[in-house]
Amino acid sequence: MVKEIEVFGKKVDIETIKNPRLKRTLEKRFCRMFRYCPDSDTPIDDKYKGCYHGEWVDWKEYKEKYGDKSHKDHTEYKEYKDYKDYDDKYHTDEWV
Protein backbone atom coordinates (compact mmCIF):
# COMPACT_ATOMS: atom_id res chain seq x y z
CA MET A 1 0.00 0.00 0.00
CA VAL A 2 1.19 3.49 -0.78
CA LYS A 3 1.93 5.36 2.41
CA GLU A 4 0.04 8.41 1.24
CA ILE A 5 -0.71 11.30 3.53
CA GLU A 6 -1.75 14.89 3.08
CA VAL A 7 0.60 17.72 4.03
CA PHE A 8 -0.38 21.36 3.50
CA GLY A 9 -3.11 20.25 1.11
CA LYS A 10 -0.84 18.09 -1.07
CA LYS A 11 -0.94 14.30 -1.21
CA VAL A 12 2.49 12.92 -0.45
CA ASP A 13 3.82 9.36 -0.49
CA ILE A 14 5.97 9.19 2.64
CA GLU A 15 8.49 6.98 0.82
CA THR A 16 9.30 9.80 -1.60
CA ILE A 17 10.27 12.31 1.09
CA LYS A 18 13.98 12.98 0.82
CA ASN A 19 14.68 14.68 4.15
CA PRO A 20 15.03 11.83 6.69
CA ARG A 21 13.97 14.02 9.64
CA LEU A 22 10.72 14.98 7.92
CA LYS A 23 10.09 11.41 6.75
CA ARG A 24 10.67 9.95 10.17
CA THR A 25 8.58 12.57 11.97
CA LEU A 26 5.63 11.92 9.68
CA GLU A 27 5.99 8.15 9.98
CA LYS A 28 6.01 8.40 13.75
CA ARG A 29 3.10 10.82 13.77
CA PHE A 30 0.81 8.81 11.56
CA CYS A 31 1.66 5.67 13.41
CA ARG A 32 0.95 7.32 16.73
CA MET A 33 -2.29 8.75 15.45
CA PHE A 34 -3.45 5.26 14.70
CA ARG A 35 -2.68 4.11 18.15
CA TYR A 36 -4.62 6.88 19.79
CA CYS A 37 -7.26 7.80 17.27
CA PRO A 38 -10.20 5.54 18.16
CA ASP A 39 -11.08 7.37 21.33
CA SER A 40 -8.92 10.40 21.11
CA ASP A 41 -10.37 13.83 21.68
CA THR A 42 -8.87 14.75 18.35
CA PRO A 43 -10.97 13.84 15.33
CA ILE A 44 -9.09 11.88 12.72
CA ASP A 45 -10.03 12.49 9.14
CA ASP A 46 -10.81 9.48 7.03
CA LYS A 47 -8.31 10.64 4.46
CA TYR A 48 -5.40 9.78 6.70
CA LYS A 49 -3.76 6.47 6.44
CA GLY A 50 -1.61 5.09 9.14
CA CYS A 51 0.54 2.28 10.30
CA TYR A 52 -1.11 -0.50 12.22
CA HIS A 53 1.23 -3.11 13.64
CA GLY A 54 3.63 -2.70 10.78
CA GLU A 55 1.04 -2.68 8.04
CA TRP A 56 -0.18 0.48 6.43
CA VAL A 57 -3.93 0.45 6.49
CA ASP A 58 -6.69 2.81 5.59
CA TRP A 59 -8.46 4.41 8.53
CA LYS A 60 -11.86 3.51 7.08
CA GLU A 61 -10.83 -0.14 6.85
CA TYR A 62 -9.55 -0.02 10.40
CA LYS A 63 -12.81 1.40 11.67
CA GLU A 64 -14.85 -1.21 9.82
CA LYS A 65 -12.77 -3.94 11.36
CA TYR A 66 -12.48 -2.64 14.91
CA GLY A 67 -15.22 -0.07 15.30
CA ASP A 68 -14.46 2.46 17.96
CA LYS A 69 -12.33 0.18 20.08
CA SER A 70 -8.89 1.42 20.89
CA HIS A 71 -5.73 -0.57 20.41
CA LYS A 72 -5.78 -1.31 24.10
CA ASP A 73 -8.78 -3.52 23.52
CA HIS A 74 -7.08 -5.61 20.88
CA THR A 75 -5.36 -8.78 21.85
CA GLU A 76 -2.52 -7.92 19.49
CA TYR A 77 -1.71 -4.79 21.43
CA LYS A 78 -1.32 -6.69 24.65
CA GLU A 79 1.73 -8.41 23.22
CA TYR A 80 3.61 -5.15 23.64
CA LYS A 81 4.78 -3.70 26.90
CA ASP A 82 4.08 -0.15 25.79
CA TYR A 83 4.24 2.08 22.76
CA LYS A 84 8.03 2.18 22.76
CA ASP A 85 8.15 -1.59 22.78
CA TYR A 86 5.72 -1.72 19.87
CA ASP A 87 7.58 1.05 18.10
CA ASP A 88 10.96 -0.61 18.49
CA LYS A 89 9.73 -3.92 17.10
CA TYR A 90 8.24 -2.48 13.97
CA HIS A 91 9.86 0.73 12.99
CA THR A 92 13.35 1.40 14.25
CA ASP A 93 15.08 -0.38 11.40
CA GLU A 94 12.96 1.34 8.78
CA TRP A 95 13.70 4.74 10.18
CA VAL A 96 17.46 4.56 10.43
Binding site: F8, G9, L22, R24
Partner: protein, 370 residues
Protein backbone atom coordinates in the same frame (compact mmCIF):
# COMPACT_ATOMS: atom_id res chain seq x y z
CA UNK B 1 -17.76 15.07 27.25
CA UNK B 2 -15.08 13.01 28.93
CA UNK B 3 -13.13 15.04 31.44
CA UNK B 4 -9.89 13.14 30.93
CA UNK B 5 -8.46 12.81 27.46
CA UNK B 6 -7.38 9.61 25.77
CA UNK B 7 -3.86 9.54 27.15
CA UNK B 8 -5.13 9.58 30.70
CA UNK B 9 -4.50 11.98 33.53
CA UNK B 10 -0.92 13.14 34.10
CA UNK B 11 -0.25 14.01 37.72
CA UNK B 12 2.67 16.32 38.37
CA UNK B 13 3.36 15.36 41.96
CA UNK B 14 5.72 17.65 43.80
CA UNK B 15 7.54 15.46 46.30
CA UNK B 16 9.01 18.54 47.98
CA UNK B 17 9.66 22.17 47.23
CA UNK B 18 13.11 21.92 48.80
CA UNK B 19 16.18 21.39 46.70
CA UNK B 20 19.90 20.89 47.15
CA UNK B 21 20.35 23.29 44.23
CA UNK B 22 19.34 26.94 43.98
CA UNK B 23 18.72 27.33 40.25
CA UNK B 24 17.97 30.92 39.41
CA UNK B 25 14.61 30.29 37.78
CA UNK B 26 13.23 27.39 39.83
CA UNK B 27 9.44 26.93 39.91
CA UNK B 28 9.71 26.66 43.67
CA UNK B 29 10.70 29.78 45.54
CA UNK B 30 11.96 28.36 48.79
CA UNK B 31 14.67 29.30 51.24
CA UNK B 32 16.01 25.78 51.71
CA UNK B 33 14.93 25.84 55.35
CA UNK B 34 11.60 24.13 54.87
CA UNK B 35 12.43 20.48 54.35
CA UNK B 36 8.92 19.09 54.15
CA UNK B 37 8.46 16.02 52.00
CA UNK B 38 5.04 14.87 50.77
CA UNK B 39 3.52 12.93 53.67
CA UNK B 40 2.45 9.28 53.47
CA UNK B 41 -1.17 10.42 53.75
CA UNK B 42 -0.87 12.89 50.86
CA UNK B 43 1.00 10.33 48.75
CA UNK B 44 -1.61 7.65 49.40
CA UNK B 45 -4.47 10.05 48.62
CA UNK B 46 -2.77 11.33 45.46
CA UNK B 47 -2.23 7.89 43.99
CA UNK B 48 -5.49 6.33 45.16
CA UNK B 49 -7.73 9.20 44.12
CA UNK B 50 -6.09 9.51 40.72
CA UNK B 51 -6.52 5.80 39.93
CA UNK B 52 -10.10 5.82 41.16
CA UNK B 53 -10.96 8.97 39.23
CA UNK B 54 -9.34 7.66 36.06
CA UNK B 55 -11.64 4.65 35.96
CA UNK B 56 -11.03 1.37 34.23
CA UNK B 57 -9.89 2.39 30.78
CA UNK B 58 -7.52 5.28 31.31
CA UNK B 59 -4.36 4.77 33.25
CA UNK B 60 -2.94 7.77 35.09
CA UNK B 61 0.73 8.55 34.73
CA UNK B 62 2.74 10.16 37.47
CA UNK B 63 5.46 12.77 36.97
CA UNK B 64 7.49 13.10 40.18
CA UNK B 65 8.70 16.64 40.40
CA UNK B 66 9.87 19.21 42.91
CA UNK B 67 12.01 20.97 44.15
CA UNK B 68 14.26 17.95 43.97
CA UNK B 69 12.18 14.76 44.22
CA UNK B 70 15.15 12.59 45.19
CA UNK B 71 15.27 14.46 48.52
CA UNK B 72 12.39 12.11 49.33
CA UNK B 73 14.92 9.28 49.25
CA UNK B 74 14.56 5.76 47.92
CA UNK B 75 11.99 4.94 50.64
CA UNK B 76 9.59 7.51 49.19
CA UNK B 77 9.65 5.81 45.79
CA UNK B 78 9.39 2.33 47.32
CA UNK B 79 6.21 3.59 48.96
CA UNK B 80 4.97 4.95 45.60
CA UNK B 81 5.31 1.54 43.97
CA UNK B 82 3.80 -0.23 46.98
CA UNK B 83 0.67 1.95 46.77
CA UNK B 84 0.47 1.73 42.96
CA UNK B 85 0.77 -2.07 43.08
CA UNK B 86 -2.69 -2.17 44.68
CA UNK B 87 -4.13 -0.92 41.42
CA UNK B 88 -2.73 -3.58 39.12
CA UNK B 89 -3.61 -4.64 36.43
CA UNK B 90 -3.79 -0.89 35.73
CA UNK B 91 -0.64 0.16 33.99
CA UNK B 92 1.87 1.74 36.33
CA UNK B 93 3.61 4.68 34.73
CA UNK B 94 6.15 6.91 36.44
CA UNK B 95 8.63 9.55 35.35
CA UNK B 96 10.90 11.45 37.67
CA UNK B 97 12.31 14.86 36.80
CA UNK B 98 15.51 15.24 38.81
CA UNK B 99 18.57 17.44 38.80
CA UNK B 100 20.55 14.14 38.76
CA UNK B 101 23.01 15.19 41.47
CA UNK B 102 21.64 12.77 44.10
CA UNK B 103 21.43 9.72 41.85
CA UNK B 104 23.20 6.57 43.01
CA UNK B 105 23.32 2.98 41.81
CA UNK B 106 20.82 1.72 44.38
CA UNK B 107 18.23 4.29 43.27
CA UNK B 108 18.85 3.55 39.60
CA UNK B 109 18.52 -0.21 40.11
CA UNK B 110 15.17 0.36 41.79
CA UNK B 111 14.04 2.68 38.99
CA UNK B 112 15.06 0.15 36.32
CA UNK B 113 13.36 -2.69 38.16
CA UNK B 114 10.14 -0.68 38.41
CA UNK B 115 10.27 0.95 34.98
CA UNK B 116 10.55 4.47 36.38
CA UNK B 117 11.84 6.76 33.63
CA UNK B 118 14.26 9.53 34.48
CA UNK B 119 14.46 13.01 33.00
CA UNK B 120 16.96 15.62 34.03
CA UNK B 121 17.70 19.29 33.49
CA UNK B 122 20.82 20.58 31.76
CA UNK B 123 21.11 24.08 30.35
CA UNK B 124 24.00 23.36 27.99
CA UNK B 125 27.74 22.74 28.28
CA UNK B 126 29.47 23.45 31.60
CA UNK B 127 30.15 27.17 31.17
CA UNK B 128 26.54 27.80 30.17
CA UNK B 129 24.84 25.39 32.60
CA UNK B 130 26.73 26.82 35.57
CA UNK B 131 25.37 30.32 34.95
CA UNK B 132 21.90 29.31 36.11
CA UNK B 133 21.90 25.81 37.60
CA UNK B 134 23.87 26.25 40.79
CA UNK B 135 24.20 25.05 44.38
CA UNK B 136 23.36 27.25 47.34
CA UNK B 137 26.44 29.43 47.49
CA UNK B 138 26.60 29.73 43.69
CA UNK B 139 28.87 26.79 42.79
CA UNK B 140 27.87 25.38 39.42
CA UNK B 141 26.27 21.94 39.48
CA UNK B 142 27.38 20.72 36.05
CA UNK B 143 30.00 18.20 37.14
CA UNK B 144 27.66 16.50 39.59
CA UNK B 145 24.80 16.47 37.09
CA UNK B 146 26.97 14.80 34.49
CA UNK B 147 28.17 12.36 37.16
CA UNK B 148 24.53 11.32 37.58
CA UNK B 149 24.08 11.11 33.82
CA UNK B 150 27.14 8.88 33.57
CA UNK B 151 25.70 6.54 36.20
CA UNK B 152 22.49 6.29 34.16
CA UNK B 153 24.47 5.69 31.00
CA UNK B 154 26.39 2.84 32.62
CA UNK B 155 23.08 1.20 33.50
CA UNK B 156 21.94 1.50 29.87
CA UNK B 157 19.12 3.90 30.70
CA UNK B 158 17.59 6.32 28.20
CA UNK B 159 18.54 9.87 29.11
CA UNK B 160 16.47 12.92 28.30
CA UNK B 161 16.97 16.49 29.41
CA UNK B 162 15.09 19.76 29.56
CA UNK B 163 16.93 22.98 28.70
CA UNK B 164 15.41 26.19 29.99
CA UNK B 165 16.08 28.89 27.42
CA UNK B 166 16.85 32.13 29.19
CA UNK B 167 18.93 35.24 28.65
CA UNK B 168 22.14 33.43 29.62
CA UNK B 169 21.92 30.70 26.98
CA UNK B 170 19.48 31.83 24.29
CA UNK B 171 22.27 33.11 22.04
CA UNK B 172 24.26 29.87 22.34
CA UNK B 173 21.97 27.48 20.48
CA UNK B 174 24.74 25.93 18.35
CA UNK B 175 26.87 25.15 21.41
CA UNK B 176 23.87 23.69 23.21
CA UNK B 177 22.88 21.53 20.24
CA UNK B 178 26.44 20.26 19.71
CA UNK B 179 26.78 19.50 23.41
CA UNK B 180 23.66 17.33 23.54
CA UNK B 181 24.55 15.65 20.28
CA UNK B 182 28.04 14.84 21.53
CA UNK B 183 26.60 13.45 24.76
CA UNK B 184 23.79 11.71 22.85
CA UNK B 185 21.17 13.14 25.20
CA UNK B 186 17.80 13.93 23.65
CA UNK B 187 16.46 17.27 24.82
CA UNK B 188 13.56 19.66 24.98
CA UNK B 189 14.11 23.41 24.95
CA UNK B 190 11.50 25.16 27.09
CA UNK B 191 11.29 28.92 27.47
CA UNK B 192 11.73 30.53 30.87
CA UNK B 193 8.53 30.34 32.87
CA UNK B 194 7.81 33.36 35.06
CA UNK B 195 7.03 31.72 38.36
CA UNK B 196 8.78 30.84 41.61
CA UNK B 197 12.30 32.23 41.82
CA UNK B 198 12.20 33.36 38.18
CA UNK B 199 9.90 36.22 39.23
CA UNK B 200 12.67 37.71 41.38
CA UNK B 201 15.31 37.15 38.69
CA UNK B 202 13.11 37.96 35.70
CA UNK B 203 14.99 41.05 34.57
CA UNK B 204 18.26 39.16 34.57
CA UNK B 205 16.93 36.00 32.86
CA UNK B 206 13.88 36.82 30.75
CA UNK B 207 13.81 36.44 26.98
CA UNK B 208 11.44 38.07 24.52
CA UNK B 209 9.08 36.05 22.32
CA UNK B 210 11.20 37.05 19.30
CA UNK B 211 14.39 35.83 20.97
CA UNK B 212 12.65 32.54 21.68
CA UNK B 213 11.41 32.31 18.09
CA UNK B 214 14.88 33.02 16.72
CA UNK B 215 16.37 30.34 18.98
CA UNK B 216 13.77 27.76 17.88
CA UNK B 217 14.44 28.52 14.20
CA UNK B 218 18.16 27.99 14.76
CA UNK B 219 17.47 24.77 16.64
CA UNK B 220 15.11 23.53 13.95
CA UNK B 221 17.64 24.18 11.17
CA UNK B 222 20.42 22.40 13.06
CA UNK B 223 18.25 19.34 13.77
CA UNK B 224 16.40 19.18 10.46
CA UNK B 225 19.61 19.12 8.45
CA UNK B 226 21.57 16.78 10.70
CA UNK B 227 21.39 13.12 9.68
CA UNK B 228 24.51 11.84 11.50
CA UNK B 229 22.53 10.13 14.24
CA UNK B 230 18.85 9.77 13.47
CA UNK B 231 18.17 8.53 16.99
CA UNK B 232 19.32 11.84 18.43
CA UNK B 233 16.20 13.85 19.16
CA UNK B 234 15.28 17.41 19.90
CA UNK B 235 11.67 16.96 20.97
CA UNK B 236 10.73 20.63 20.87
CA UNK B 237 11.32 21.14 17.16
CA UNK B 238 10.25 17.61 16.22
CA UNK B 239 6.98 18.27 18.02
CA UNK B 240 6.48 21.57 16.19
CA UNK B 241 7.25 19.89 12.85
CA UNK B 242 4.79 17.07 13.56
CA UNK B 243 2.14 19.51 14.79
CA UNK B 244 2.22 21.76 11.75
CA UNK B 245 2.44 19.00 9.14
CA UNK B 246 -0.41 16.94 10.59
CA UNK B 247 -2.47 19.77 12.14
CA UNK B 248 -2.86 17.50 15.15
CA UNK B 249 -0.97 19.19 17.96
CA UNK B 250 0.76 17.32 20.72
CA UNK B 251 2.57 18.64 23.76
CA UNK B 252 1.09 20.24 26.86
CA UNK B 253 1.62 23.77 25.51
CA UNK B 254 -0.34 23.14 22.34
CA UNK B 255 -2.93 20.42 22.93
CA UNK B 256 -6.49 21.56 23.14
CA UNK B 257 -7.77 21.00 26.63
CA UNK B 258 -4.53 20.43 28.54
CA UNK B 259 -6.76 20.65 31.59
CA UNK B 260 -8.21 17.28 30.64
CA UNK B 261 -4.68 15.92 30.80
CA UNK B 262 -2.95 17.35 33.84
CA UNK B 263 -3.20 18.31 37.47
CA UNK B 264 -0.44 19.11 39.89
CA UNK B 265 -0.30 18.15 43.56
CA UNK B 266 1.98 20.12 45.88
CA UNK B 267 3.81 18.50 48.84
CA UNK B 268 1.03 19.59 51.23
CA UNK B 269 -1.69 18.20 48.97
CA UNK B 270 -2.85 21.42 47.31
CA UNK B 271 -4.03 20.77 43.77
CA UNK B 272 -3.17 23.17 40.94
CA UNK B 273 -3.93 23.13 37.19
CA UNK B 274 -0.34 22.12 36.35
CA UNK B 275 3.18 22.29 37.74
CA UNK B 276 3.62 25.88 36.59
CA UNK B 277 0.95 27.08 39.00
CA UNK B 278 1.68 26.96 42.71
CA UNK B 279 1.83 28.94 45.91
CA UNK B 280 2.54 32.17 43.98
CA UNK B 281 -0.82 31.76 42.21
CA UNK B 282 -3.16 31.01 45.15
CA UNK B 283 -6.24 31.96 43.11
CA UNK B 284 -5.61 28.82 41.05
CA UNK B 285 -5.50 26.40 43.97
CA UNK B 286 -8.30 23.96 43.10
CA UNK B 287 -8.54 22.19 46.44
CA UNK B 288 -6.57 19.77 48.54
CA UNK B 289 -6.16 16.10 47.67
CA UNK B 290 -6.49 15.20 51.37
CA UNK B 291 -9.87 16.92 51.68
CA UNK B 292 -11.47 16.95 48.26
CA UNK B 293 -12.31 14.30 45.71
CA UNK B 294 -11.08 14.75 42.14
CA UNK B 295 -14.75 14.80 41.10
CA UNK B 296 -15.14 17.91 43.26
CA UNK B 297 -11.94 19.42 41.90
CA UNK B 298 -12.99 18.92 38.28
CA UNK B 299 -16.34 20.55 39.11
CA UNK B 300 -14.65 23.47 40.82
CA UNK B 301 -15.44 26.75 39.04
CA UNK B 302 -11.80 27.70 38.41
CA UNK B 303 -11.11 24.29 36.84
CA UNK B 304 -14.19 24.64 34.67
CA UNK B 305 -13.00 28.04 33.51
CA UNK B 306 -9.60 26.56 32.64
CA UNK B 307 -11.29 23.74 30.72
CA UNK B 308 -13.08 26.36 28.61
CA UNK B 309 -9.85 27.95 27.39
CA UNK B 310 -9.67 27.28 23.66
CA UNK B 311 -8.18 29.31 20.81
CA UNK B 312 -11.68 30.31 19.72
CA UNK B 313 -12.36 31.68 23.18
CA UNK B 314 -9.27 33.93 22.98
CA UNK B 315 -9.95 37.05 20.99
CA UNK B 316 -6.39 37.49 19.78
CA UNK B 317 -6.22 33.90 18.49
CA UNK B 318 -9.43 33.77 16.44
CA UNK B 319 -7.98 35.19 13.19
CA UNK B 320 -4.67 33.30 13.45
CA UNK B 321 -3.81 30.69 10.81
CA UNK B 322 -2.06 28.60 13.48
CA UNK B 323 -4.85 28.52 16.04
CA UNK B 324 -5.44 24.81 15.41
CA UNK B 325 -1.73 24.13 15.77
CA UNK B 326 -1.16 25.86 19.10
CA UNK B 327 -4.66 26.20 20.59
CA UNK B 328 -3.73 29.46 22.23
CA UNK B 329 -0.57 27.99 23.74
CA UNK B 330 0.07 27.65 27.45
CA UNK B 331 -2.38 29.27 29.84
CA UNK B 332 0.34 29.89 32.38
CA UNK B 333 2.41 31.69 29.76
CA UNK B 334 -0.68 33.84 29.12
CA UNK B 335 -1.09 34.38 32.84
CA UNK B 336 2.53 35.46 33.27
CA UNK B 337 1.98 38.30 30.79
CA UNK B 338 -0.84 40.16 32.50
CA UNK B 339 -2.56 37.78 34.90
CA UNK B 340 -5.18 36.78 32.32
CA UNK B 341 -5.31 33.11 31.33
CA UNK B 342 -7.77 33.96 28.55
CA UNK B 343 -5.06 35.79 26.65
CA UNK B 344 -2.57 34.48 24.08
CA UNK B 345 0.58 32.67 25.14
CA UNK B 346 3.29 35.21 26.03
CA UNK B 347 5.61 33.49 23.51
CA UNK B 348 3.02 33.61 20.69
CA UNK B 349 5.12 35.80 18.37
CA UNK B 350 8.03 33.37 18.71
CA UNK B 351 5.86 30.37 17.88
CA UNK B 352 4.55 32.16 14.80
CA UNK B 353 8.11 32.87 13.67
CA UNK B 354 9.18 29.23 13.94
CA UNK B 355 5.95 27.84 12.47
CA UNK B 356 6.25 30.18 9.46
CA UNK B 357 9.83 29.01 9.03
CA UNK B 358 9.01 25.30 9.30
CA UNK B 359 6.09 25.64 6.89
CA UNK B 360 8.31 27.36 4.34
CA UNK B 361 11.09 24.73 4.65
CA UNK B 362 8.70 21.75 4.39
CA UNK B 363 6.78 23.24 1.46
CA UNK B 364 10.06 23.76 -0.39
CA UNK B 365 11.16 20.18 0.34
CA UNK B 366 7.85 18.73 -0.84
CA UNK B 367 7.66 20.94 -3.92
CA UNK B 368 4.52 22.69 -2.72
CA UNK B 369 4.01 26.14 -4.16
CA UNK B 370 1.71 28.87 -2.91
Amino acid sequence: MERINQRGLGIISKVTESCNLACKYCYAEHDNKIKSIMSDETLENTITKCYEFSGERKDPHFIWHGGEPLLGGLEFFKNVIKIQDKFKPHKISNVIQTNATLINDEILDFFIQNNIHVGTSIDGPEEIHNLTRIYWGSTGAFKDVMGGVEKMRKKGMDIGAIVVLNKKNVNHISEIYEFFKRENIGFKANPLIKCGRAIKNYEDLSITPKEYGKALIKLFDLWYNDFDNMNFSCDTVEELLGNITTAHPRGCDFSEGCQGSYISVSPNGEVYPCGRFGSDTPDYCLGNINKNSLDDIFEEKTKKKLLERTADAIEGCRPCEYKQICNGGCMHNAYMKNGNIMDKDFYCAGYKMVLNHIKSVVKKDLGITG
